[in-house]
Symmetry: C2
Subunit: 336 residues, 2 copies
Amino acid sequence: MPSAKAPSAPRGGIDLGGTKIEAIVVDGRNNVLGASRKPTPTTGEPEGVAKQLVEALGEAAQLAGVEPSRLQGVGVGSPGVVDPVSGAVSGARNLPGWDGTFELASVLAERFGTRVAVGNDVQVATDAEYKLGAGKPYKSLLGVFWGTGVGGGLILAGKPWLGRGGAGEIGHMVVKKNGAKCPCGRRGCMEAYAGRAAMEARARRQVDKGQKTDLFKLMKERGRDRLTSAIWARALDHKDKMATKLIDEAVEALGVGIASAINLLDVEAVVIGGGLGVRLGQPYAKRIAKEMQPHLFNDRHPPDVHVAALGDLGGALGAALLARSTRRGNGTPNAS
Amino acid sequence: MPSAKAPSAPRGGIDLGGTKIEAIVVDGRNNVLGASRKPTPTTGEPEGVAKQLVEALGEAAQLAGVEPSRLQGVGVGSPGVVDPVSGAVSGARNLPGWDGTFELASVLAERFGTRVAVGNDVQVATDAEYKLGAGKPYKSLLGVFWGTGVGGGLILAGKPWLGRGGAGEIGHMVVKKNGAKCPCGRRGCMEAYAGRAAMEARARRQVDKGQKTDLFKLMKERGRDRLTSAIWARALDHKDKMATKLIDEAVEALGVGIASAINLLDVEAVVIGGGLGVRLGQPYAKRIAKEMQPHLFNDRHPPDVHVAALGDLGGALGAALLARSTRRGNGTPNAS
């Protein structure tokens, strides 16, 4: 008697980040059958990025022993503004030559020979935590992705909430009016205090003023040209004074901003992901929860706060989930 | 041929505020058939408040020519925490002796002889603007009620969003970390800069320090013991320097806080209500929109900003809408 549902065909998932491309092929139960990681091109045009995506997924599919055209579909989590109908991506400023609009879904669908769905990278990672990770016990949650910037994703009443397509910009909630300048050009955003790029810029300015830190020494030792999450973590281990102070300020800003979001939305849980969030892990999720507490209006009933359970693979797994939906685009039931 | 739906039986709506009680009876098309206004008791127990509610609705029903027991139902918009199932109200600190829990829905249902639904006052007023007022063209909106405090209500995908029951506390979103003390005891909340109670406290402190204003002279002339919205409006008309500066700061805080909410939620519209919001009207809604603009992440696509169209009656009309639902309590489809 065929009572159990047969696992469906393998699917592809690609997390398109500003630094790296992570491609996976999963089976119907979201087990990873093959994975590949490639650097994101830093020069050129969107076509070059698309080519790299094709190569990365091709490798993952080869490792999984399946032709890309035999995949049920491929999902992509992308920065920038994603058109939910066409899967076109606009204004992905972290990607080379991508200020305009590029028909990412159509181009990839032709190369792969299967259908392609594109969603916002942060929302896709939030969906993955909701369906497969730390958000599984809840019907409403806020995903906070603490990395180069600070991105946010929302699940409300069991569905992604995208607003008019631009929701989730928690990094640009103001935590201090007339405050520090943010990489986005505005003032006082949470990201101006907590984003890795903003923190690095601040560290450089402090070094220029003669303050001491091992952050840039660690960077050179590792042959990097920017302060990665691993470098921040190492500097904290070494009790580097400047790194400690900057991370303390970041944790404070995250606490204030996330508490504001909770006062507005009162969701059940917060999931902290992103490069820094995953690297610093549970002790820092606890510290963020502690910084939230004095600003929570319903302080007797704080939300649960967890570290993202899927780690670095969350984005690609969430992208693969996108390919499960029957529609093209990012399949938003409640975009208005 | 009975093609048009017959208007249903009259319903009652009561807006229970910290200063006044507004009761109405409406017909099936939400036309007001009778209305009554009474002061909210400032001493005593919840029973005394309930008695005043019974009297106010009794008067409105008498003017409408209908027995309360013949009403299809009565809705109440209440401060405090409302139990969505039982209609009990807890911790309504603006009301006398109401720190604990009082079975408001049950007590009123017995007195009126009809069913009673209780909802959060701010959410109920937001629902009214959504269904009957300035929010009619939209599927998602943020209601901001600028009065003694600053309350918020959300409509997302056509439904009220209450979170775990405590959503909408936009007044306690932080606009300045380590900022001014709020009447709630926390620091840097939007309400610490924009709430009428906080503004009055600040004005008193500035007078104590020797600064000049006509605010308290106007208050005495009108025989009031606090700075009402009408007094603030009059002082602005007189170009009172202190009043102008405090209102400017309030408008800035509202702009910053509402922009933060929009960055997170990306709803289509903002409706500004409450005593100050309605009294100061369209010119100030425009000023708030202007203060939001520099903080909006999607600044090319700002939300529409309107003044509440139902004015002071919004709360009572929204309460009457509650009585239309078939369930007791606040009938939240998406509370999780």
